[in-house]
Structure formats: C-alpha cells, structure tokens
Subunit: 275 residues, 2 copies
DNA sequence: GATAAAATGGAATAAAAATTCCAAAACGCC
DNA sequence: GGCGTTTTGGAATTTTTATTCCATTTTATC
C-alpha cells in the first residue's frame, strides 16, 4: 500500500462496498483479514467497538484503525457514523408482532401463521444466500433457447408448476403444463428443440422422474428444480437449481421455490423479448 | 417513583417493552419524556449515545441515566447492550448477499431473484402485521364445521387453491378443487353443510365470483381470501381474510397468500382431528 | 544474505462517553 | 405560605473507547 490513494471517504453504503471490493485484492495480510471480516460482518459495524471488531477479525486494534484510514475515513468513528446513520433494523415491530401472535397459544391459528411466516422468511433468506448464480444463468439461457417449454411438477410441487404455466402464458411464451389429469400421457408432445422444466422434492414423484428421463433420452435439455444436488432428478438434468426450503411440521413453505420460479419466468420472458 | 421497585433488568426486547409499558404511567415529567421518546425510537438505542438520545428526548443526559436505572439496568450501557446483542440475528449477512446479487446488473437473473426474495419477505412481514386474528379464527371455525370443502382459485390464485387441495387431501379432509378443467361446472356438487373457500385477487376472476355468489344463495358459508376488504368477493363471504401481497413488476409474490393458506389447512386439520 | 521499504503489535495518549453527585428548583401537603 | 419530599440540571469524575506513535518484525529487491 502506498499512501497515494488518499481518496475521499465513502458517503453511502454502496460506495463503501465498491471501495472495499476495489482494494480488497493487493492488501497485506492483516489488512486483508480486516477487509474479509468487515465484508462478512458489515452489519455489525454500527453496533460494535474497535476492540470487538478487531477481536473478531483476529487483528490488533491498530490494524483496524489503519484499515479504516485506507478506506478514506479519518478513523473508525467516521466509518461507524456512516453505518449508524444508515442503520434501520428490520424490526419496526414485526418481531414483536410475531411474538404476540405466538402468544395466542400453541396450535391456535395465529400461532400457526406466525410459524409459517417465519418458515417462509427463513426459506427466502437461505435461497438468497445459497443460490448458485451460474446454474441460474445457465437454466435461464437454456429456457430462452427452447422452442416449447414443458412444465411438470406434481403433488406439493404442483402449485409451483401451475404458477409457472400461468406466468409463461401471460408472457406469450409457448408452454405446456403436464398435470397428469386423466392419467393422460403427453410425452409424445416432447419434440426436439423443446425443454423440460421439472420440479420435484423428496419423496420424489415417479411420474416427474419418468418424464425427465424420457425427455433426456430423446435428447431434450432438462432444467431441474429440486431440493438437493443429489436428488434423483439431478441425474436427468442439464441444469440443476436447488431450493433450501424450511419446513414447519409436515408442510413445505414453498415461498422460496415460488420466488425462484417467478424469477425464471420473468428472466426467460425478458430474455425472449429481446431476442 | 419510590425506590422500592428495584426489579431485575429486562433480558429480552419483549420484557423491555412490557416493563416500559408498565411504568410509563405515573412517571414525573422528564422521565415521562424519556419513556415516550424511547418507546418511539427503540430501534436507535443500539446506535446512539446517551447525549444523542437525551437531545432527542429534550432532557439532560442525567435524566436519561435515571430512566435507565428505573427500568432496572445498571446504567445506559446495560440497556444498550441488550439492543446491540438482540440485533445480531436477522441478517447474518443476508442483506449483503442481496446487494451482491443485485450488483449483477438490472435484469440479470440474480438481480431479479433478489427482488422477488425481497418482495416475498415484505409480503410475509406485512401479513404478520396486518392479519385479522378474529377473522382468521372465524374462518378456521367455519371450515372445521363444514361437511365437504370446496376450493376455488383461478389464474394467479390457482397455485394457492391447488396447494390447499393437496394439503387437505394429505390430512384426509374431504375437499374438492373446482379447477374449471373442461369448462365443467361443478356447482351442483355444493350441498347444504358444505363450505366454499374462494381465493381471488384483482382483477377478480368472474368464475370465482359467480361460484361464491351461487354458494351464498344456496345458504352455504363462504370463506374469502382476497386482497381488500372492499373486494367484490367480500360481498358473498361470511369470513374475509385479506392478504397484503407486495408485487414486483407484474407478478404477485404469493408468499404471504401461501403462508395463510397453509395455516388454514393445518389449523383446520388439527381442529378436525380433535373433534 | 544485506538493505531498504512496508507492515505490524502494543503501549501511551487523547478524546469521548457514561456515570455520579449535589445544590437548586418544583411540588405536594398541612 | 412554610416545610419536607421529590425531581431536576449540570458540573465533576470515572470509565471506556478511539487514536497515535514508534520500536520491532516481516517482506521484497537486488
């Protein structure tokens, strides 16, 4: 580090992140530790002291001070001010409300709702954290290039499949929902150039796996939405998207799966528009 | 204030609020100011100094100190520690991740996903805040007392309806999904003692409204899941549940609606079990 | 492997914040 | 309106926290 990069301090959290990313490479060992720890714990800056953060990053306080100055602040206090001002906790009374709901007694409808809301929220958060961006991009690319989309998802995955069918229809994308009504077998509808979008979670639906295998054997691309990379569906798929859904009791929240589904739909929709 | 109420300090935000509410009445002028300001700005305790809060409450710092001690803390630092620690969960780096996803560029699949995840989360939070507990309890009671459940929800509400049908089936509750396949009209299946569970959002589906009206005219109870109390569906309903769903772009996240749906299903399921 | 430059750790210092204490003011009661 | 009690404001003190500085170690270069 030379002292030539005395640039003005970031004034927004955005700028802060940019600066952090920009300098993170080519930084000596201890300062790198600071950068890594701060990047992973940005949210704690507002409520911690130099000593606490230094302990967390496993560096002496003076190293952290130097780090703040390299970022352009006059010191730690300047950096902290940025985050204290921007600080807006996610509990403007939401957490309180949840607790109130649960206090109605275990098993009461309100308490159940609180549990499912929480399960949904956790699912969404895990999805954001765990999503494989490359796999997502690959799946979207595959779907954009397809002629007709075939969608299958049965039992608990059926709501997702039907939502996808609805979304594709809205966007004038040719799509066919294989819903198993009347035990009809529509596999002859799979034509070269088509793509199958299959959704299933443990215990995996036989019909879904069978259709995926069939599609694969005919040379079609298969995009899989499932719960684990080791899912049997993954074997037949060219792109696999996993969704870490949190269950409460016997029921899957589906929030995360639906968020992923609608993302696929809209991404494919806008991708095709441009094409 | 006498000094006899030296009770132990609150150890959770809940306890804090309770204590605050308990003492807020019968407090001298300055301390009352503290209580009011703190109640309205609880979220800033973690990131403020005594001086800053005192300024905000328009009292001298020493008054705020006294206030902290009345609450049971040894001083301001003790109170602040509670909020700094409580703040730890919530976003263990979830927000960071969201920002990263969005940085992939507007319109990219990752950025879209971030938006939908956020929309889902907001929807769930609003649901928790806005849910009418009495209406929910009433709806559950109605559904428990029913002979057969009829479920209708078309277009964007169809995933919800199908999920409900799946859940009821899993729990051996007699339920019939009116899905409009083949333009078949199943209204003759509505029999006295049955209940209709109807779901629709603006723009409201004609078929759903018609079936609800029909059911109502035959004297059946109708439980409505919709977006506003003034929805046309509400006119035909004996119990109305509203879901404040946040949209992103043209698409509804459905997270909150599904959470509500699954709550209904499980509450009804356990209610019938006990009966 | 010698030399210069950079990086580091920790002790010393400065600054800021929290906390106490008490004299003065306000209040309630007779 | 006087008297005891409670409340108040602010200055003094203590504690915590941030920051600087420099001797020592590490690293890079030749």
């Amino acid at each position: 580090m030379t002292e030539t990069d005395i640039r003005p301090a970031p004034t927004t959290v955005e700028e802060f992140r940019d600066r952090l990313a920009a300098i993170s490479d080519d930084l000596p060992k201890r300062l790198r530790q600071c950068a890594d720890y701060i990047a992973a714990n940005t949210d704690r800056i507002a409520v911690s002291t130099v000593a606490e953060l230094a302990l967390g990053a496993d560096v002496p306080p003076s190293a952290l001070m130097r780090f703040c100055q390299i970022l352009g602040f006059s010191g730690f206090s300047g950096m902290q001010r940025l985050f204290r001002d921007a600080y807006a906790p996610g509990w403007p009374d939401y957490t309180t409300r949840l607790t109130n709901l649960k206090e109605n007694g275990a098993g009461s409808p309100s308490a159940l709702l609180a549990e499912f809301v929480e399960a949904g929220r956790l699912s969404l958060e895990s999805l954001a954290k765990a999503v494989d961006e490359d796999a997502l991009a690959a799946a979207v690319a595959t779907l954009i290039a397809a002629d007709t989309l075939h969608i299958i998802g049965l039992r608990r995955a059926f709501p997702v499949a039907s939502y996808l069918a609805y979304a594709f229809e809205k966007m004038d994308i040719p799509a066919m929902l294989h819903d198993g009504v009347g035990k009809l077998d529509h596999r002859h509808a799979l034509r070269p150039g088509d793509v199958l979008l299959a959704i299933t979670f443990a215990p995996y639906s036989e019909e879904t796996l069978a259709l995926a295998q069939d599609a694969r054997e005919r040379g079609l691309d298969v995009v899989a939405v499932t719960d684990r990379l080791t899912s049997p569906l993954a074997r037949h798929a060219s792109a696999v998207l996993t969704v870490p859904e949190v269950d409460f009791g016997a029921f899957r929240s589906l929030s995360a799966t639906l968020a992923l589904a609608i993302t696929l739909a809209v991404a494919v929709g806008s991708g095709r528009q441009g094409a």
